[in-house]
Symmetry: C2
Subunit: 259 residues, 2 copies
């Protein structure tokens, strides 16, 4: 199993605090030694940092922690390999261009008997996760060769997520830089921080932050993670089958799928 980290914010926000907690689980407090990656949208551009080695040992991870990159939308992942060997091409998040935007995806879970016929997008590595991402994008492109709004697109995303989930476990984060889509198959937690901001304490490292000192009263920052990253705040635990769509920190749509 792996761990996911997502952020949606209405102002460029650094994710150093949450990333520090997550990285500890990459071979420190957690067993996820098989690589990590994090993608930061910057306008329509995307910065992607990845390493197939454990995040606690990673020189690139230390850069990301030292160098606060501000972004409105972030997707991160640490990996404990089950399908596919440990190498860069199997390291999440995965990125493809669709409709002139960078789409970014990370997955927690495992899919059995998942062998789609790839049309346009094809996996570079050999994970079930990248295969699911390519299949999802191929469905979107087949349904909509030209760009559509996210409300039109949403039913395709939800239907695919629901279908993939039947093949195993499919917790995922997906973004095109404008919105962030989350699907909970078994486990996903979410918190939205807004004024009045307070202090937060990481579960996985002896680190505390006072968000009051780091924010303005109008900031809205939503963080989504496999498990709550702090132990003094109240996280919302998503239900199996629940999906949500975020833009600039706010939930703009959510719902529940059946089995």
């Amino acid at each position: 199993m792996c761990e996911l980290l997502g952020m949606s914010a209405n102002v460029p926000t650094d994710i150093v605090f949450s990333f520090t907690g997550l990285m500890q689980r990459g071979g420190g407090t957690g067993p996820h030694r098989d690589g990590w990656g994090i993608a930061f949208y910057e306008g329509r551009g995307l910065r992607l940092f990845q390493d197939p080695s454990a995040s606690v040992d990673s020189e690139v991870a230390r850069l990301v922690q030292r160098y606060p990159i501000k972004s409105e939308t972030v997707i991160g992942h640490i990996r404990q390999a089950n399908v596919g060997k440990v190498c860069l091409s199997n390291t999440h998040p995965f990125v493809r261009e669709l409709w002139g935007r960078n789409w970014c995806f990370a997955h927690n879970g495992q899919l059995a008997d998942f062998a789609p016929q790839f049309s346009f997008y094809r996996p570079v590595g050999d994970t079930d996760s990248e295969a699911a991402f390519c299949e999802l994008l191929n469905r979107v492109r087949t349904a909509f060769p030209e760009p559509v709004g996210v409300q039109v697109l949403l039913p395709v995303l939800i239907r695919a997520a629901q279908e993939f989930r039947r093949k195993g476990v499919f917790n995922c984060l997906l973004s095109n830089g404008d919105w962030l889509f989350c699907y909970c198959s078994t486990k996903l937690a979410q918190i939205t921080r807004r004024a009045p901001f307070g202090p937060a304490r990481l579960k996985d490292a002896d680190v505390m932050v006072d968000f009051q000192a780091e924010t303005t009263p109008n900031d809205v920052v939503t963080v989504i993670a496999t498990e709550p990253l702090t132990d003094n705040e109240s996280w919302n635990l998503l239900r199996p089958g629940e999906w949500s769509l975020w833009r600039r920190g706010e939930c703009i749509a959510h719902g529940q799928t059946g089995e």
Copy 2:
């Protein structure tokens, strides 16, 4: 104008020496202050480091210089913007997946009246360079929906490069991780280092390296750059219209296009 850097080697080789020289031209000894990027293939995976700020000031560039990443194929670029504003999505190199491989591209030059109709691949940013890359990949995909070998592919690449060159200046580097294709429209220099290795001295920084101490007798490393990076070695200056194809450090095909 911009500066290009490419490497093809038969063993994973670090490019710190050449990168150090190139980075000096990014706002130090050269005027290319508008971003830089470098992509390292690692198996089928690709590590991409980019920054829209000048390379001499870039924290990410310092990481790349401190942390020797070894790769058999590298494409780097520093930018002096002419078309497209200075931002991450306009920063080379550009990457797309085709046939389940990462294709990577960087361009030096400028194209006039270049407005292709994009089918599948579409630019994320607004440079003529990314537009040319997308158009090139769309042509490849249209000609060959399924993977073909590079010898079959080559005429499509050469024809496109020759045609783009008629619209302005089109020096470029293109790779799928297996081979590296270079096209010289106005300016490109190349050197192949092999045993017996000797010392090399950068033109742009007070740095000397003794390749003898860093290599084994079987190593073959080709470096391609807009201008020679060292001043004590003999670089081969490509002629306008000349193209070459490299694999594991060796030239596997080359030729000359007309006007």
